[in-house]
Symmetry: C2
Subunit: 314 residues, 2 copies
């Protein structure tokens, strides 16, 4: 039986593993893809504190994992199929085995929803971005295009005007879904332009992004639009299907937590992008991970003491 | 007028400054002591993710500050005397000047309460500790003494049994203040011993800690007690006096926040050890700082848009 199983080896999960393993919890981390989560696909991380010259996402992910393993955490590849309650603990169902654990730390992250157009995937990190806070700084004095029409698209579009020369918001409808006050702010901002009834059908690059191909959904007309960067804010898909029948989720399917990262089920903790109201930054996820780990250690300590007590009385 | 003034240059404040300055907020950080806060006094930080071999507290603090300054944050030494509301913004009163700002990020930290006995201060980081999560790992197979009798002392004492050979809890009274269930857990733990009605009056070292001098408060008797490490859990003093009439605090005088690090006053944010329910770790403070910064940027953006709107209509 493990003391804790951490699902996901992004910054949140690996930071949690550093803390649980250093705190002597028998710790297993299960990751379905490459270690690092979204960070693994980021060329330059400039805003993780402690690295004034920045570092690459894969380098940082490797350092996190090395640190967790140094303290005894085991990191494995695999897919969790199901989580079941089992007395005071839980059973984590994998492809070919079932694992027992006293506690679970959910760190499954969320994936930005993609446009799924040609040229999108290969330009992630070199002109296509899903995070203005992360990448806006790289587009000082440049022209960028934003896909989306909800709160995130408009809010991040306004944020991007701090850096970019122009921000063009492309939306498939003829009005925004964003709240009125945000809309007004965007309309009042001289750097922001709108293209309505339009979608991006292709991102064309040649080392750097050259242009996007825009399609008017009403007329079907296609045209080239020269641009330096493409920011896509069409939602996030939290990886929380696994726990939707077990834990309380918010209206965005994110796991509800308190300030100590405890979920609605004692013994299950959540951290990083899969939890409600996350800041979606590497360092905030790592911070969450440490907090969740400390809560898990307290929980496991209490549970072991309770069991010892029962054994004595029995 | 500043966009944001950050009070405190520990991990929370400097991380916030990296984010606000990179987000183009005109940012001032005010610190009354050396940069780094509690971290500045820590010889080896093993659990800040990204540094598998650990690093010294001062090194990490310097890296944080360099990164914030690289993006344009200004870090100054000084003491904030008072914070006043000023229309939509705030006035931060310093010794010799008054500064205007649109927003404030509180990152003033908390100080562990000290015993104030000879030998305590000079052995911090080399045998005297106020944090079991941080330093317990360094005492594997050793004998440690814990000062205190509240929840923290007992909980951390139990945690230390993961590493230490024996944990002796020294308490000035003849019973613990800790909750009953924690007390029972400590009494049931074979590694934990108690010395009642006793205080530590001196910590004697010679490179490493040699022994403490214990005084029975009822008989006045003094005796030497050989030990490897001294953990002191007699409370924390949050540095929140400055805001106690302005913000809602919890029962421990910590600043109440939501998951986005917003306080009870719009435009004031809080992060790190001065906020309620903090995990009191370097990475959790840094994570909080990023979260507070992102909330501050949204707030300042909204405020500027509102003002621009008023100007247009006027």
């Amino acid at each position: 039986m493990y003391d804790t199983i951490i699902i996901g080896a992004g910054p949140a999960g690996l930071s949690a593993a550093i803390y649980t393993s250093r705190g002597q919890l028998d710790t297993l981390v299960i990751e379905k893809g490459p270690s690092g989560g979204q960070i693994a696909m980021t060329e330059l991380v400039e805003n993780y504190p402690g690295f004034p010259d920045g570092d690459s996402g894969p380098n940082l992910a490797e350092a996190f994992q090395k640190q967790a393993e140094k303290f005894g955490a085991k990191v494995v590849n695999g897919t969790v199929k199901e989580i079941r309650k089992n007395g005071n603990g839980f059973i984590v169902v994998m492809d070919k085995e079932e694992l027992e654990t006293r506690s679970i730390i959910c760190a499954m992250g969320a994936d930005p929803r993609k446009l799924n157009v040609p040229g999108e995937e290969k330009n992630v990190g070199t002109g296509v971005s899903y995070c203005a806070t992360c990448d806006g700084f790289f587009f000082r004095g440049k022209d960028v295009i934003v896909a989306g029409g909800g709160d995130a698209a408009v809010e991040e579009g306004i944020f991007l005007t701090r850096f970019a020369n122009t921000v063009t918001i492309v939306h498939r409808r003829d009005e925004l879904r964003a709240t009125k006050i945000l809309q007004q702010r965007a309309f009042d901002n001289k750097k922001i332009k709108f293209i309505w009834d339009t979608v991006i059908t292709e991102i064309v690059s040649n080392g750097a992004i050259k242009h996007v191909i825009l399609k008017n959904v009403k007329t079907g007309e296609l045209r080239e639009h020269p641009i330096h960067g493409v920011f896509i804010f069409v939602g996030h898909i939290p990886n929380t299907k696994l726990v939707k029948n077990l834990l309380e989720l918010d209206e965005h399917d994110l796991i509800q937590v308190d300030l100590s990262m405890r979920t609605s089920v004692p013994g299950i903790f959540a951290c990083g992008d899969c939890r409600s109201a996350a800041a979606r930054q590497m360092v905030s996820s790592a911070g969450d991970g440490a907090t969740a780990a400390i809560s898990a250690i307290k929980y496991v300590d209490a549970q072991k003491a309770e069991e010892a007590d029962k054994t004595v009385r029995a």
